[in-house]
Amino acid sequence: MSLVLGIESSCDETGAGIAKLHPDGRIELLADEVASSVELHARFGGVVPEVASRAHLEAMVPTVTRAVTKAGVELGDLDAVAVTCGPGLAGALLVGVSAAKAYAAALNVPLYGVNHLPGHVAADTLQHGLLPSPCLALLVSGGHTQLLRVDDLAGKITEVGSTIDDAAGEAYDKVARILGLPYPGGPPIDKAAAKGDPEAIRFPRGLTGPRDAPFDFSFSGLKTAVARWVEHRERDGLPVPVEDVAASFQEAVADVLTAKAVRAANELGIGTMVLSGGVAANSRLSGLAAQRCAEAGIELRVPRPRLCTDNGAMIAALGAHLVAAGTRPSALDLSADPALPVGTVSV
């Protein structure tokens, strides 16, 4: 049995989670504390790295303190510390990595510098148990849009596809701004879309031509198409049907994400898909994924929304997988790597 503290600071959430690895390999979540700086970024319409980094420094020790209390353990009971060392914002990552190194050194326990992206996949194991091998992961958030083949969470992860421009969540933020909806754009667009017609406007599905990379994504053109449509409408002196635009935009995003993910699962012969990341909570994306996976005979696993967004629990879970696999810990000269490749699960 092993208690793992997970620390996350790659973007605008300061997360501290504690997971317990049981002898049978089961991983139990004991605490999941998050301090978000999202409200500080709202008026800037996107994450401001320096604002996020300052907030991480302020929140780090209080968040870890809350996690330890919530888990009903003492810091001295911890057996390992895991921390996101990339990918992410350099200054933000540095706060978590520095703190994690200090905790590991002071508690005299192993340190695991881990990749944020497999962390999102590991989050699902806290809710639905261990994953079969292989499985396919569709990670969708403000920072990433990736399709991963996961053979082994503790070691073998390969990228099947990714966005070539904007992340899907970024497109949500930009379209929200076009429609005069608040930041972050995901929840208000989802809400407006519920009252709109998803077939009112046929927005383009990026990279779906016969010669396009089958599993890569592009959302920059979609965002521009929405802006163009809205501007034409305004130029003609017509009202903008916000609900229909939101629904049609959301349909285009969900359609292309789920179509490519299901096609990848079929072509790779993979029977289980994990949908995670902040945008996984989007009702149309999860709904369409459920429908298409069911049609294709694929088991779909979507962690609850709290586990989908960035948090320390997912990093604690990934750390527990590494402990279980007997992975070599990181050295204490570990540094943050903002561009850590997805195939590098731990450093």
């Binding site: 008026r43 800037f44 319409g45 401001v48 320096e50 604002v51 980094s53 300052r54 991480h56 420094l57 780090m60 020790v61 870890v64 303190t65 810091l75 350099a90 200054g91 540095l94 706060v95 978590g96 990595v97 520095s98 703190a99 994690a100 190194k101 200090a102 905790y103 050194a105 002071a106 508690l107 005299n108 701004r177 076009i178 521009t224 802006a227 163009r228 501007e231 034409h232 130029r235 204490l332 000269d333 570990l334 540094s335 943050a336």
Partner: protein, 211 residues
């Protein structure tokens, strides 16, 4: 009392082990000047300094940490490290101004400057090591004259006074600057940024079509 001193507010990654039993004695220190290695080197440096003295983190009674002013990213590496160490070890972390640590123990009037990037300096003035003016940030040409200068040697063409040779805070300077604080409860560990974050509220959205 065994004190761990650390600072990452200048290009130096500074860590040292100091005893205070009446006199201040530096038992070991590790200082590397590399503005991009704060996050990487600080923890190894302080463990190596402790190992030199045959002690471990469990033997440390208090931490003294430089809180800047300093370029943001590097500064936070030291402060996040100190805060987490203090938490995990259950010992106090005493903040000191990095400029005070550079000035500690000097005689007479002194201008202390450190690199603030963007063609500016962080600075404060001292007399016999005691601070005279509060830390501030500004272009070199706006700084007051003084008989001597310490800290960064940048802008020697503008600030032509003699340099004392001390460019970075030392573990001894950090602990000296904390004199009088160490037997009291630690003050809050708050960084001295002196600048607001770079962030602009977006104006009206750029059109993608021509009106």
């Amino acid at each position: 009392m065994l004190v761990l001193a650390l600072d990452t507010a200048t290009p130096a990654v500074t860590a040292g082990v100091v005893t205070l039993n009446g006199d201040l004695e530096v038992l070991a220190e590790r200082v590397t000047v590399d503005a991009r290695a704060h996050g990487e080197l600080l923890t190894p440096h302080l463990l190596a300094a402790l190992a030199d003295t045959g002690r471990t983190l469990a033997d440390v009674d208090a931490i003294v940490c430089g809180i800047g002013p300093g370029p943001f990213t590097g500064l936070r590496a030291g402060m996040a490290t100190a805060a987490a160490l203090g938490h995990a070890l259950g010992i106090p972390v005493h903040p000191v101004c990095t400029l005070d640590a550079i000035a500690a123990g000097t005689e007479g009037p002194l201008l202390v400057t450190t690199d603030a990037r963007r063609k500016e300096l962080y600075w404060a003035t001292y007399d016999d090591g005691a601070r005279v003016t509060s830390p501030a940030v500004g272009p070199p040409a706006t700084l007051p004259a003084a008989p001597a200068r310490a800290g960064t040697t940048l802008y020697g063409d503008v600030l032509t006074m003699p340099h004392t040779g001390v460019e970075h805070p030392s573990p001894a300077g950090l602990v000296r600057a904390a004199t009088g604080q160490l037997d009291r409860p630690a003050r809050p560990l708050v960084p001295m940024y002196l600048r607001r974050p770079d962030a602009t509220v977006p104006g009206t959205r750029k059109r993608v079509t021509t009106p």
